[in-house]
């Protein structure tokens, strides 16, 4: 099986650790990833901002980059949703041979949890993470890819991990791409509610399947309670006993307090 990683532009630039973690989990399970370097962005930010025409070269680039792989995996439900749910429609509108290429490729583009559970049939990836975690099911994973409880199952199988319920978990965090700046006040109100939900869960770590959502929540959470960590689910799945507490080095300096320390003013 030729397995390609679609890292996504947000992860490439802002969250390389999620890509490293994805590769680490799969390598541990015996699968080597390839990283085709001609990949850039799926085009979703352009399309959702009202620029459908400039989106098309990115659609074509994606097809050319990944057409020869058996499976393309990505640690982003949102970008996978763009490829699987939106590309076919864009290609149909564009005409030509693109539609056939996308029809052949799109079903092979999988979100990480789909690859692990549906294709590789692995629920316990051999991770160790002795902390309390709550999971935010990001909107595209929830309503477009219908990931269901895939990440909850993967996280529950992690040694030492306690998964706590996130109140009102299905509500959007308020990111929405340019929505966060075009409608900053509404977006801020939404992320404010999400932060309160995270705090009332009592978890030490908030996890999700999309780093764009996580950047949004983390940016607000750090102001409210910097001791609550945020990690993409792939990074939790990549952590083993051997890693010890190494992952903590990646956190902002002001969050460098021991896990489980008393939170200043935090609920739960």
């Amino acid at each position: 099986m030729r397995l390609a990683l679609f890292i996504t532009c947000v992860n490439d630039a802002m969250a390389p650790d999620t890509g490293k973690a994805t590769a680490a989990v799969l390598r541990r399970l015996g699968y080597d990833l390839e990283f085709p370097t001609t990949q850039t962005c799926c085009g979703q930010p352009l399309l959702n901002s009202g620029y459908p025409r400039p989106t098309m070269p990115l659609v074509e680039r994606f097809v050319q980059t990944f057409a020869d792989y058996d499976v393309v995996v990505s640690p982003s439900a949102s970008c996978v949703s763009m490829v699987r749910e939106t590309y076919p429609r864009l290609a149909a509108d564009a005409g030509g041979t693109l539609a056939a290429d996308i029809a052949a490729l799109a079903p092979r583009v999988l979100e990480l949890s789909e690859l692990l559970l549906d294709v590789l049939k692995v629920e316990d990836v051999g991770a160790y993470f002795p902390h309390t975690v709550t999971y935010h099911p990001a909107c595209h994973g929830l309503r477009s890819l219908h990931l269901g409880d895939r990440y909850e199952r993967l996280l529950r199988s992690v040694d030492g991990l306690t998964l706590l319920d996130l109140p009102r978990d299905e509500e959007c965090c308020g990111f929405g791409g340019t929505f966060a700046v075009k409608n900053a006040d509404v977006s801020s109100a939404m992320v404010g509610s999400k932060v309160e939900s995270v705090l009332s869960s009592g978890a030490q770590v908030l996890s999700t399947s999309d780093n764009s959502c996580l950047l949004n929540i983390a940016g607000a959470l750090v102001r409210r309670d910097p001791t609550v960590r945020t990690m993409h689910a792939a990074e939790i799945l990549a952590t083993t006993r051997a890693d010890g507490e190494a992952w903590r080095r990646r956190l902002p300096a002001r969050a460098q307090v021991p896990v489980g320390a008393v939170r200043p003013g935090g609920a739960g």
Partner: protein, 494 residues
């Protein structure tokens, strides 16, 4: 036909972001909205979960509406013939002005100066109350919440629960101050409030010679009109007066009586979270000696044929005005309806209003952006309107409009630069190689908490996390055993 000319959008409306900021500042309103939308949301989810055929019902609703819209001319003419045969008089209004003019003429002919009204989105859309008032005719809203809004001199903020932004204490004060004959010691128990409104309205019903209504459905084969409501006030308006005038959007037609079966299951569950609504009225023209003896129907276009001409946007015309999308929307939940500057708020309003009015006004252009595209609206829509898809489609129309009118040049330039950077591998990689270490140096280990200019819209509530010193691809290239140019055919895309 023609664009909407009536106050679908309120004349003092501001673009959504500014209007939303005003509403967000109202703490009490926000608490009420959050409580009530969550209540209805939960009720809806429970009664929908009872049906194992819900998805089939949704698909049936979608298909019936789509078929009707594909052959709308046919079904409208069929409805006109059936209505005429049943003794009704059919009028056609291309826009709000024509509709208002027709209704006013029909009321004036009777010599009456008061009409009772059944809650109706179509008459709110055309601003009929204001039109009649300006000509010496008093419209009396008989739906309790609509009456509250009217007494408050306020605007509706929800399609089904128009006074959702008022709590019962405020409603008590309103009735006490503005409803004649209200005892000053009226309590704020909802039952007591409703009883007082009922006493007041009962007199209006018995006085009324003319009623104005909308209709949820028009059955083409029989000419039957349907009003779905909860309070029984509709039943009074539709039976007591001598003349009944119904204003109905042309998209409300369904082909056969049997089609109602689908919608009368979808609508109450989606709308109020009830298995069946308390009062459904059906009437077919004139029945001699029973009910109104003069029945008029005004079919309203007001921008609908323009929406119909758009292959993506036309699905908004399937809407049965249930408000499920409002109740589940995280944006609506926080801003309420007034921020949308239209009688149609929430997700459906964000796609309906700009289609009915066009993109010439900045308020209408701002509406498709009033969404995080979370998809909750599509998930609950009983006729499967893919609202996020229509929103992005209309965003493109808004950007196109601004391009043609040389507006918003800064944003378009920024997107042009982003497009160049994302479509060219060399530019993309240089951007990461130069930009990331730079950003890392600026932001340090803690990230940024106070960006200037547009960036401030992010940092007013969120930090920017510290960028990593190195991109993923730079790290990958450094790994032993990785081929920096892996990707087979991919190199062709450089």
């Amino acid at each position: 036909m023609s664009r909407a000319t009536g106050p679908v959008r309120w004349p003092d409306a501001e673009p959504f972001p500014q209007a939303a900021a005003v509403q967000l500042a109202k703490a009490e309103q926000r608490a009420t909205l959050e409580r009530v939308t969550h209540q209805i949301r939960t009720k809806r989810a429970a009664v929908v979960a009872e049906r194992d055929d819900w998805e089939e019902l949704r698909r049936a609703g979608e298909r019936i509406k789509d078929r009707t819209l594909r052959h709308l001319d046919h079904y409208l003419e069929q409805a006109e013939r059936a209505l005429t045969r049943a003794g009704a008089v059919v009028h056609w209004a291309a826009d709000a002005d024509q509709a208002n003019h027709i209704v006013h003429r029909l009321v004036r002919e009777t010599g009456q100066t008061e009409v009772v009204k059944v809650k109706s989105m179509a008459t709110a859309e055309i601003g009929l109350n204001e039109y009649l008032q300006a000509r010496g005719i008093t419209p009396v809203e008989t739906d309790l919440a609509e009456l509250v809004v009217q007494l408050a001199g306020d605007r509706p903020s929800h399609i089904v629960v128009p006074a959702i932004h008022h709590n019962r204490h405020e409603i008590r004060d309103l009735l006490a101050q503005r409803m004649p004959g209200t005892p000053s010691d009226l309590g704020d128990d909802p039952g007591e409030l409703a009883a007082q409104a009922r006493r007041h309205l009962r007199e209006a019903f018995l006085r009324a010679r003319v009623a104005v209504s909308g209709a949820n459905f028009v059955v083409a084969e029989t000419g039957t009109l349907a009003v779905v409501e909860s309070e029984g006030n509709g039943r009074m308006c539709l039976t007591l007066p001598e003349r009944l005038i119904t204003v109905v959007g042309i998209e409300k037609v369904v082909p056969t009586f049997a089609d109602l079966e689908v919608f009368l299951q979808l609508l109450p569950r989606s709308s109020t979270g009830e298995r069946m609504n308390p009062a459904t009225s059906l009437w077919t023209g004139v029945t001699p000696g029973d009910g109104p003896q003069q029945v008029h129907v005004v079919f309203l276009d007001n921008g609908r044929t323009d929406a119909l001409a758009d292959p993506v946007g036309r699905q908004a015309l399937r809407c049965i005005r249930c408000s499920a999308c409002l109740n589940v929307c995280p944006v609506y939940e926080r801003t309420g309806g007034h921020a949308y500057g239209s009688v149609y708020p929430g997700p459906i309003g964000a796609i309906l209003t700009p289609q009915l009015r066009g993109m010439a006004d900045p308020v209408d252009r701002s509406l498709p952006f009033a969404s995080s595209l979370c998809g909750a609206c599509f998930e609950v829509c009983p006729v499967r309107i893919d609202i996020p898809r229509v929103l992005t489609h209309l965003r493109a129309a808004a950007v196109d409009h601004e391009r043609r009118h040389l507006q918003n040049v800064v944003e378009r330039t920024a997107f042009r630069a982003a497009t160049a950077g994302l479509s060219n591998r060399a530019l993309y990689e240089v951007g990461l190689r130069v930009g990331l270490p730079l950003a890392h140096a600026v932001a340090g280990r803690d990230g940024l908490s106070d960006l200037p200019s547009v960036g401030n819209r992010w940092t007013r509530s969120r930090d920017v996390p510290p960028p990593p010193p190195q991109s993923f691809r730079a790290w990958w290239a450094d790994q032993p055993g990785t081929d920096a140019d892996a990707g087979g055919q991919g190199t062709q895309a450089s």
